[in-house]
């Protein structure tokens, strides 16, 4: 299931986006490395504050001060004029330059969590979609309007032609999210970044939107970076999953493998703490403590104060590096290194769980 380097659409290497605040430096994204294959769905999961949205905004080059992407590479493969695939480092492009602007919204587009808040309240939705089409495609305004109507039909908005003239407040939350999707897909992007696209929606509407996204993804052969805190949605949508904690990807691998056999203690604990409809448990497993505040400077593994399998003298001193396991899994945990066997051999076994 691992993505071969040559067919990866986007490769993020050692991305570091920090926020420089009066309280200190918050390392929202701290050496994050991953890649997304052409036409694949990468699910990024984690709790609030883990850096998943900032990662997305870093790729779009939309991080606002006091946030700055201080280091790393974001290699995006695009076809140049001659049809050759070349790789550009998005971080080397000026964020407001012509090239970045043509990529943003055209080749890489994004949908946001709160559909109503991300649409303009004073412009008709049709105008908002056509604006994006006119920016990125060499078409006339009337052609753009036809494309926009076609997009609205593709996202199953009834009476699309009439809805072109509607304002955001006249549409329900699910409808607004469909408009956002129509806008994001109107230029046939190679990569769609969906940041919690269904979190604000009801379950039945969520099911409609997810089915729609899956259908369009297959049809348009587009890659999706699907950011969510909902492990259930990821299990259903993603080919690959990256689990983030405090700005770092702690585990990455094929979705099926991660849900069948999670390796990192954090992933294990997250899955255990979910109340499930298909199981009956009296008490839920919890993760002790809370996510530390982003300014704290923890030694060693960022998860060690909350980790049930933490090894004293090891986990609080050594910063774990990504370790490749079999089946293409990557995990940042010292339990899978030689430190575990030296200190206490039984721990590694315990943590591998069930």
């Amino acid at each position: 299931m691992t993505v071969q380097p040559n067919d990866s659409l986007l490769e993020v290497k050692d991305l570091q986006t920090h926020f420089f605040m009066a309280e200190g430096v918050a390392k929202a994204v701290d050496s994050t490395t991953f890649s997304i294959g052409r036409g694949k769905v990468l699910g990024v999961v984690g709790e609030s504050g883990c850096g998943k949205s900032v990662t997305a905004r870093s790729i779009m080059r939309m991080v606002r001060p006091p946030g700055h992407t201080v280091d790393g590479e974001i290699l995006y493969s695009r076809a140049d004029e001659t049809g050759q695939t070349t790789s550009v480092d998005l971080l080397q492009l000026p964020a407001t330059g012509a090239e970045m602007r043509s990529i943003r919204g055209g080749e890489i587009s994004m949908i946001f969590q709160e559909p109503r808040a991300s649409l303009s309240p004073v412009h008709r939705v049709g105008d908002q979609i056509t604006e994006n089409i006119l920016l990125h495609q060499p078409v006339t305004p009337s052609e753009a309007e036809l494309i926009a109507i076609d997009m609205l039909q593709q996202v199953h908005i009834p009476l699309a032609e009439q809805r072109m003239g509607a304002f955001a407040h006249q549409l329900s939350g699910g409808m607004c999210q469909r408009v956002m999707i129509a806008m994001a897909l109107s230029c046939h992007p190679n990569l769609l970044i969906a940041d919690e696209p269904t979190t604000a929606l009801d379950v039945t509407t969520e099911a409609q939107i997810l089915e729609l996204m899956q259908g369009l993804q297959a049809e348009l052969d587009m890659a999706i970076m699907f950011i969510t805190h909902d492990l259930g949605v990821v299990a259903d949508m993603a080919d690959e999953v990256a689990v983030m904690y405090l700005g770092k990807i702690v585990e990455r691998g094929a979705a099926a493998d991660i849900f069948r056999d999670p390796k990192h203690p954090y992933t294990i604990a997250l899955l255990e703490s979910l109340p499930r409809m298909d199981q009956k448990r009296d008490w839920l497993q919890t993760i002790r403590g809370v996510v530390p505040d982003p300014y704290s400077t923890l030694n060693g593994c960022p998860f060690h104060p909350r980790c049930a399998d933490s090894m004293p003298g090891v986990c609080d001193e050594i910063v774990p590096q990504p370790i490749s396991l079999e089946d293409g899994r990557e995990v940042r945990c010292l339990l899978y290194t030689e430190h575990a066997t030296q200190e206490s051999p039984q721990l590694a076994e315990e943590s591998s769980h069930q």
Partner: protein
């Protein structure tokens, strides 16, 4: 603090076999219609039927989960019981002093008569960030119900607050801090402490964990269960997350456009729903497990009906895949389908609906 791992105790003893159990709350024909006014003289042109004829009982010591999509009226039901709204019709019979004790009809009591009864009724709110006054210390916030009701003051009040803080798993030294110093989960613990300090009988929890992260959500759910056992509480647990509701509830009621469509014991409802809407809700939930570990997903067409102008007959018929002609004309009543099972569907006996895969 609740233990991290499950002690080997039974789930809440069956609802009716509990000798201690009696209907603490009986809600009959509860309605709340909000007027829609328009025009120069704000003439009332129609009504939003937010709650339109809801009946249920709550047994002492049980947890009743109330689920439904946004706008279905579940929060309004909670607020009507709290008498934050005056009901349009119906009665709410409440027996806080035991089976033989006095019974109050919350729907008709005036504000003065409500005051002593209200100490038995408390509410936990959804958003821990907006439900705590940022200018008050934890002592003020948690102690306010005691002070308002003239129950204690001074050092006695402080002792009670410290006791509550310990009970909900917060450190007593936090007592002089302000809400901003706490995380979402800790704030929700403060909200719980405030709700429980008057020693209520019935607690209405309106989406108490939906604003929290999964790991914190699990802590708060465990805490609520632990407190229920310690303090013999009865919960009306309003939520939209079906996994959470299944976990905490003994019985579950499903609401759609102001009416209950199904009410049953949690296990039965999830194993074999009787109403097509319940089936669709269950199938829409994504299970965090290896893919395809669940049955076929039913994607409902269209949107939730407009409560000011609901469809004819069964409100769910335009979205129901089993709808027949009768459903367009006749409104199904909530009726008893089996022991402890109620459903509002004409064809509940004939349909064979899929539940959530129970293993």
């Amino acid at each position: 603090m609740p233990p991290r791992k499950a002690p080997n105790s039974q789930r809440n003893p069956a609802i009716n076999s509990n000798a201690d159990s009696y209907p603490l709350l009986e809600v009959n024909g509860l309605k709340k219609h909000f007027p829609i006014s328009a025009g120069l003289f704000s003439k009332v042109v129609s009504h939003i039927k937010a709650v339109d004829g809801v009946d249920f009982t709550l047994q002492k010591g049980e947890t009743l989960g109330l689920v439904g999509e946004s706008g279905c009226g579940k929060t309004t039901v909670g607020r009507l019981i709290m008498r934050l709204y005056a009901p349009t019709a119906g009665d709410i019979n409440f027996r806080p002093h035991g089976e033989e004790g006095a019974q109050y009809d919350l729907a008709t009591l005036d504000n003065k008569a409500l005051r002593p009864v209200r100490t038995h009724l408390q509410m936990i709110f959804q958003d821990p960030y907006t439900s705590l006054n940022p200018r008050k210390t934890i002592l003020d916030i948690i102690g306010e119900p005691l002070r308002l009701n003239g129950m204690s003051r001074g050092s006695e009040l402080e002792d009670r607050v410290v006791e509550m803080l310990r009970l909900v798993g917060l450190r007593p030294e936090y007592i002089t801090r302000y809400p901003h110093a706490f995380s979402g989960g800790q704030r929700q613990r403060i909200g719980i402490a405030r709700a429980l300090i008057l020693n209520p009988t019935l607690v209405i929890a309106d989406e108490p964990v939906s604003a929290l992260d999964v790991s914190v959500q699990a802590q708060i759910l465990n805490l609520l269960k632990f407190l229920q056992r310690e303090l013999d509480l009865t919960y009306l647990f309003i939520a939209h997350d079906l996994g959470v509701v299944k976990h905490i509830s003994d019985r579950v009621a499903v609401m759609y456009v102001g009416k209950l469509v199904e009410l049953a014991e949690a296990d039965d409802l999830y194993r074999k729903p009787l109403h097509p809407y319940t089936e669709a809700l269950l199938s829409a939930v994504h299970v965090a497990g290896p893919a395809h570990s669940q049955s076929e997903r039913i994607v409902l067409e269209g949107e939730v009906a407009d409560p000011s102008n609901p469809p004819s007959g069964c409100y769910f018929h335009p979205r129901c895949r089993y709808a027949q002609e009768r459903c367009q004309q006749e409104t199904p009543e909530l009726r008893s389908a089996a022991e402890n099972r109620y459903v509002a569907c004409h064809f509940a006996d004939e349909l064979d609906l899929a539940g959530a895969g129970t293993t």
